[in-house]
């Protein structure tokens, strides 16, 4: 505890010291996940560029959590977005990142789709079938978690690792019988003989919430703390826009993802956007003084991954608490 306080004090000290004579980053690279959330709005409206005039802003689309982890490990991005399983992996493996805001809560924007003509009505019917999920992502985690809860042996089916876009292609070819993945690709499977069996929202209500969190590289945050605030502010503006202008947002999503407007509208409703002031409550990030339920989710996720032999050891709770850093958001909100 003492060490934590000392570290925090040191952090605030360097924070205030560098804040005065802070440089401007020449370039900011934002890795964003290819899914439906307010980051698309922020990107589309150029809100980040407005916050950071004169900075070269580069957006990089990343397929899934596993790829994002690699991008972070390779120092290819300054800001990124991660679902809770890759976050648990990154934090446990000591990746130099901090979680700074809630990007989205996952509801039916991520779902398990099964072939309607294969008579699959429960997870037990998946025996002997081919099931796809992007390994290391939120949906891979939920798939294994759901199978475990239903007492279905994962070895009784063929679970294969595919990127979301490849899942859509494999689905159209008829190579797979079921897949748990996300929009905008999920829709292609649903429209081609698929039906939804379980959604990530269902799993959240059963006590397995999944979400995506915005992360910043430690080195960037140390060098340009005020630019982390600017980033958070821009994303919060995007979230506000999403909540206040659903119709215009749908138009933006439709344009960004080249989708019909009605599809964009439906996908939007499957994503939970959390207003920035609410993110500082118990249910989400919590405050710097008392971290919220995101820490619980991370501990539970990491515990599950350790049992799956995907992680060598369980990081103590304090490690996950240190990862969640609401301080920037607190400054933006003015608390």
């Amino acid at each position: 505890m003492k060490r934590l306080v000392a570290a925090l004090a040191l952090a605030t000290l360097t924070f205030t010291a560098t804040a005065r004579a802070e440089d401007k980053p020449p370039k900011v690279t934002v890795g964003y996940l290819n899914l439906v959330n307010a980051q698309l709005v922020t990107k589309h409206l150029g809100l980040l560029a407005k916050e950071m005039p004169g900075v070269d802003i580069k957006y990089v689309k990343v397929g899934g959590g596993g790829d994002m982890l690699r991008a972070i490990a390779g120092n290819d991005v300054d800001f990124g977005g991660l679902g809770n399983p890759p976050t648990a992996i990154g934090a446990t493996r000591g990746l130099p990142i901090k979680g700074i805001l809630v990007i989205n809560m996952l509801d039916y924007v991520e779902s398990m789709v099964v072939r309607a003509d294969k008579n699959i009505t429960s997870l037990k019917d998946l025996k002997g079938k081919t099931v796809a999920a992007p390994f290391g992502s939120t949906t891979h985690y939920l798939l294994l978690q759901a199978l475990k809860n239903e007492g279905v042996d994962p070895a009784s089916m063929k679970i294969i690792d595919l990127a979301p876009s490849d899942i859509a292609a494999a689905w159209l070819r008829g190579d797979i019988d079921a897949a748990w993945f996300w929009e905008p690709n999920l829709d292609k499977a649903v429209k081609n003989g698929g039906k939804i069996l379980v959604t990530s929202g269902d799993m959240a209500r059963r006590g397995y919430p999944t979400w995506d969190i915005g992360v910043v590289m430690n080195a960037f945050a140390e060098k340009y703390p005020s630019y982390v605030e600017k980033f958070v502010k821009a994303e919060c503006e995007g979230i506000d826009f999403w909540l206040k202008n659903p119709e215009k947002t749908a138009e933006i999503i439709a344009e960004e993802l080249s989708l019909p407007l009605e599809d964009a509208t439906r996908m939007m409703k499957g994503t939970g956007m959390v207003p920035c002031d609410k993110q500082l409550t118990e249910q989400y990030l919590g405050t710097s003084a008392k971290k919220g339920e995101f820490v619980d989710t991370l501990v539970a996720t990491a515990d599950f991954l350790v049992k799956q032999e995907r992680l060598p050891k369980l990081l103590p709770r304090a490690g996950f608490e240190a990862f969640i850093q609401p301080a920037y958001l607190e400054k933006v909100i003015g608390r």
């Binding site: 596993g66 490990a73 992996i89 493996r93 290391g136 690792d161 490849d166 070819r173 032999e309 060598p312």
Partner: protein, 279 residues
Amino acid sequence: MSVEAAPMAMPISADRTRRGSLRMPNVSRSVLLSTLTVAVLLTTWIIVTEIGWANELFLPKPQAVWAAFVKTMTKGYQGTTLLQHLGASLYRILVAFALACLVGIPLGVLMGVSRNARGLLSPLIEFYRPLPPLGLYTLLVMWLGIGESSKLSLLFLAGLPGIVISTIQAVTSVDPVYVRAAQSLGATRRHLLFHVYLPAAGPLILAGMRISLGFTYTVLVAAEIVAASAGIGWMIWDAAKFLLSDVVIMGLIVLGLTGVVLDLMMRAIAKLLMPWART
């Protein structure tokens, strides 16, 4: 005279003994140097990780890599043991490589002997040869699906041009004197092919096969990225997603060593089949 003769003889005998003593140790000397390289690398690895210069996330200690090896050998990685992973990969490589040889060598001989065949087929080979395998792979997956056939096709296509091109070169560089000599002795085309072209071109074809096996090997990880659940390449790719760098490095070492063994086997086969060739 005898005094003068002695210095004359000395250098010769000294030279002879030096050469004689060098010839045998020559082999062990290169082995020694190779061992030295490996030892230096390993020591640097140990030192760098022990001092803590390297982040364990990116460069784990040799002990950790060894532990990952032992664990994967005994308990397996995600339910499949290392030998099963290796078996899956070797199966893909060897089947694809055998197919590439079966198609590539006759094709190369044909193109080498016949100018018409060369004219007809070379645009195809020349066009797809420089295509990056991953670009080709997306199309193969769309056409053939995510199963084994697209993986084998990718490996096959990676191996094919090397064999074809080196076979063409091997056949065209056969000394025309051999051919004319055989023809003047009444050799048929069949005789020419099996008793002149193939034996004479054999060593070069074999060199091409070795290069081609190397090419096949280099696209293994790419081939196993899509929808595999076993294979060394898949294991490396999957472990990287979970930042298990010890498994990644272990997999790479296994992959490298297997490649060396495969190449040695190719050379041994060459010696057996073509004792006249210098490999």
